[in-house]
Symmetry: C2
Subunit: 152 residues, 2 copies
């Protein structure tokens, strides 16, 4: 018998998190693409600008945790589609601040409630105390996994 019992992939926490996250993300992404022609990076940019108009691309990259290239391309696509607009920043000619256009706002006002509804649907499978526990545990895990923690 050469079977090794050193590790069971399907029980391995990073694997389980990855499968869960991908399952959820793919379902959301399919709906956003189908109903609004939005990619996930675009949706993230819209979500953040909808709540914080006037951020720059760099600030967006920080809050969405996305690569600056991904942010740059998401912005370009949204501007192409007339959903986002740039305005010059007063004192810095390199960057610009970002705002939803009228059309962008209309879409945001449709997408955001759907996103919340999706989240509610997921969370409704959990008891109130489990929902609290989940949020707390995600915080803890995020801290434990943070790149400035020396793992290994």
């Amino acid at each position: 018998m050469t079977t090794r019992t050193l590790l069971n992939l399907t029980e391995f926490l990073p694997f389980r998190l990855s499968v869960l996250s991908n399952t959820i993300s793919e379902r959301i992404a399919a709906a956003y693409r189908r109903d609004f022609g939005l990619s996930v990076p675009q949706w993230r940019v819209m979500a953040v600008i909808g709540q914080n108009p006037g951020l720059t691309a760099t600030q967006l990259a920080e809050t969405t945790r996305m690569d600056k290239v991904a942010v740059s391309r998401a912005i370009a696509g949204l501007i192409d589609d007339g959903r986002l607009e740039r305005r010059a920043t007063p004192h810095d000619g390199r960057s610009s601040t970002l705002y939803l256009t009228r059309r962008g706002e209309e879409i945001y006002d449709e997408v955001a409630p759907l996103a919340r509804q999706f989240e509610d649907e997921l969370l409704s499978q959990l008891s109130a105390s489990d929902q609290k526990a989940l949020k707390r545990l995600l915080d803890l895990m995020a801290k434990a996994a943070s790149p400035d923690q020396p793992l290994w």
Copy 2:
């Protein structure tokens, strides 16, 4: 004030899960690539075959939840590197069964403990009861997110 408060991305569960999962996966992937020349799909294939020698590519795709193309390419790479071998299946000329080679086993015996150690390191930030809770909640969420559940 045009700020919309319909949704706060950084509190949005799918977003948080995605960031957490990506942070963990990227750190593991970097270590596997650097120390063993393994991609994540390759590591997953090795992990499953290490524990279940003799599976076929289709069975691998099912247990790893990966696309069959990804599995096919991971297998091809591992065979190229002399870490995996095919053997004919008795009654089916289309598929073959998969086994770690001697070299594959050596690598598996090194990688698997490291993976466990990484997981332990993450979980060690949580109390014993929180660890239990985390696993239970992941199970619940996975069920809630499963594609045969009608969300939306």
